[in-house]
């Protein structure tokens, strides 16, 4: 990613104006804090370990949920991708579950599991299931037909067909779905924590807000934004590095 000097002008100007306006007493309320105070608050939270603990909790739930959701998403996606008949028979059932907003499941997960990791993981898993399933289905359907013929000629059993032919061939596209799921998992985990679950970064935000600590609210918010950006940047790099030079097999097969 290129970071041109011009791109820095706008955010720096905003920060400077914000700081000056706060210092000159233009804001009468404490509701907005100001950049240097936010920096101090963020530093304090990092030093005393509160931010790290919250980060571990959020990431634990997000990754756990994503792993489960992606696992089932890939299985269902492969099954649907291999059999058009199965996919069209299940179409109405999946399409009637898909529009349910993941946040609507928060109360149900709360009812079943109470507070804690499990309820958060379930909601994240539901949210991550859909993009992985849809992308996998498309990727498997897009596999070069001759590869499948080879598998048939070699009389591969189903498991070998999946692990030796289908997964490697579909992986570049499936990875795009996984990347999408990773950023969704972080968003959903934070949302669950904000609405109900008393752990992690989202809860840290709520506690800071209820204590009228605007500096901490902004510190958490900026940290969450940074983590989301970092996660996406790393996965994008991994994708380019692992699959970039191969080109996209499944795509090229069309």
């Amino acid at each position: 990613m290129r970071i041109p000097g011009k791109g820095l002008v706008f955010p720096l100007a905003v920060l400077l104006l914000w700081e000056l306006a706060a210092r000159s007493g233009y804001f009468t309320s404490t509701s907005l804090s100001y950049p240097s105070a936010i920096l101090f608050a963020g530093w304090g939270l990092l030093v005393d370990g509160a931010m790290w603990k919250a980060t571990r909790e959020t990431f634990g739930a997000a990754l756990g949920g994503m792993a489960i959701g992606a696992f089932f998403g890939m299985i269902v996606g492969i099954a649907f991708g291999l059999s058009r008949l199965l996919a069209s028979l299940m179409r109405l059932s999946t399409e009637s579950l898909r529009p349910v907003p993941s946040v609507a499941l928060i109360p149900l997960a709360l009812l079943i599991y109470g507070y804690g990791y499990r309820m958060e993981i379930v909601v994240v898993a539901f949210a991550c299931f859909w993009p992985v399933m849809i992308v996998t289905e498309g990727a498997v359907r897009g596999i070069e037909p001759r590869l499948m013929e080879v598998a048939r000629a070699l009389k591969f059993p189903l498991v070998a067909r999946v692990t030796k032919i289908i997964l490697p061939a579909a992986l570049p596209r499936v990875f795009v779905g996984l990347r999408l799921a990773a950023s969704i998992s972080l968003v959903v985990a934070v949302t669950v924590e904000i609405t109900t679950n008393p752990i992690g970064l989202g809860y840290g935000l709520i506690v800071a807000q209820e204590g009228d600590r605007a500096d901490r609210v902004f510190a958490f918010l900026i940290w969450i934004g940074f983590l989301g950006w970092l996660l996406n940047a790393l996965l994008l790099r991994a994708q380019r590095r692992w699959f970039g030079k191969f080109g996209n097999w499944s795509e090229a097969a069309r």
Binding site: A104, P107, L108, I194, G202, L205, Q209, G225, G228
Partner: protein, 253 residues
């Protein structure tokens, strides 16, 4: 393949009915705990009860109203800002890196900031929904403007169109598919944020209803609420797709 079109559709209806039947059987036999999963019979009973209750329709209309106004506000602002950014490379150079940083921010994470600035009220709810849904609309528009066939821009220069004319007559119509895919995402985000803000602020609405139902262990009410929210997600998306097909009908002919 031997089955096709209508037969497959019929088949998928039968599969759905079978699954609902299994859910009912499991619930009757006690395999699926009734305390959490009330079974289709009780869920549909609650749904039909709600159909006649004024309270339900009040909550329903409140949620829809928030979602709708937040979405419209976000679409208008998002497309306008996106058009400004998309048609000016200079503006893009200054603002795009900042947008890239804001984009991955979870929309619900800005709620505490808005609560501190505006308080726990209706204005805050609308501001959060609009702020969260504006990004997909804006980024979709920018992307659409960037990928317009460059020769069309040349044509507009030769025709000496003013910038506004160029946007209105050339860039905007050609970016519509990207704009609509941004709007579809914005629509989903607006429903999610309406539900989340209702859960948090206690404002009347379906989000508030389902969290109350969970806290007082009324699983049938909770399930009915989830079904209604799923239906809202489905119908609003279908309406937007209809609008898209209507607006873009000139493209295929």
């Amino acid at each position: 393949m031997t089955l096709r079109g209508p037969m497959l559709w019929g088949g998928s209806v039968i599969v759905l009915l079978l699954l609902i039947g299994l859910w009912q059987l499991g619930s009757n036999a006690g395999v699926i705990p009734q305390a959490f999963f009330p079974g289709p019979d009780r869920t549909f009973e609650t749904l039909s009860d709600q159909f006649w209750s004024e309270e339900f329709w009040l909550a329903f209309s409140e949620t829809i109203r928030r979602m709708f106004f937040g979405f419209v506000l976000a679409s208008v602002l998002g497309v306008a800002l996106g058009a400004a950014l998309g048609s000016s490379p200079t503006l893009r150079e200054y603002l795009e890196p900042t947008l890239e940083l804001i984009r991955p921010l979870p929309a619900s994470a800005v709620i505490p900031v808005f609560v501190l600035m505006l308080g726990l009220n209706e204005r805050m709810v609308l501001a959060v929904i609009a702020f969260g849904s504006i990004w997909p609309a804006l980024l979709g528009t920018v992307h659409g403007f960037k990928t317009v066939e460059p020769r069309l821009y040349e044509v507009s220069r030769i025709l000496r169109l003013s910038r506004l004319e160029m946007i209105w007559k050339i860039a905007l119509p050609n970016s519509l598919p990207d704009i609509f895919s941004g709007l579809r995402l914005a629509l989903t985000v607006s429903l999610i944020l309406a539900v989340v803000t209702e859960m948090l602020s206690g404002a009347e609405g379906l989000g508030h209803n389902i969290i109350l139902a969970a806290r007082s262990f009324r699983s049938a009410d909770l399930f009915a609420g989830i079904v209604v929210l799923g239906a809202i997600g489905y119908v609003t998306n279908a309406v937007l797709e209809r609008v898209e097909r209507h607006v873009l009908r000139w493209r295929n002919s």
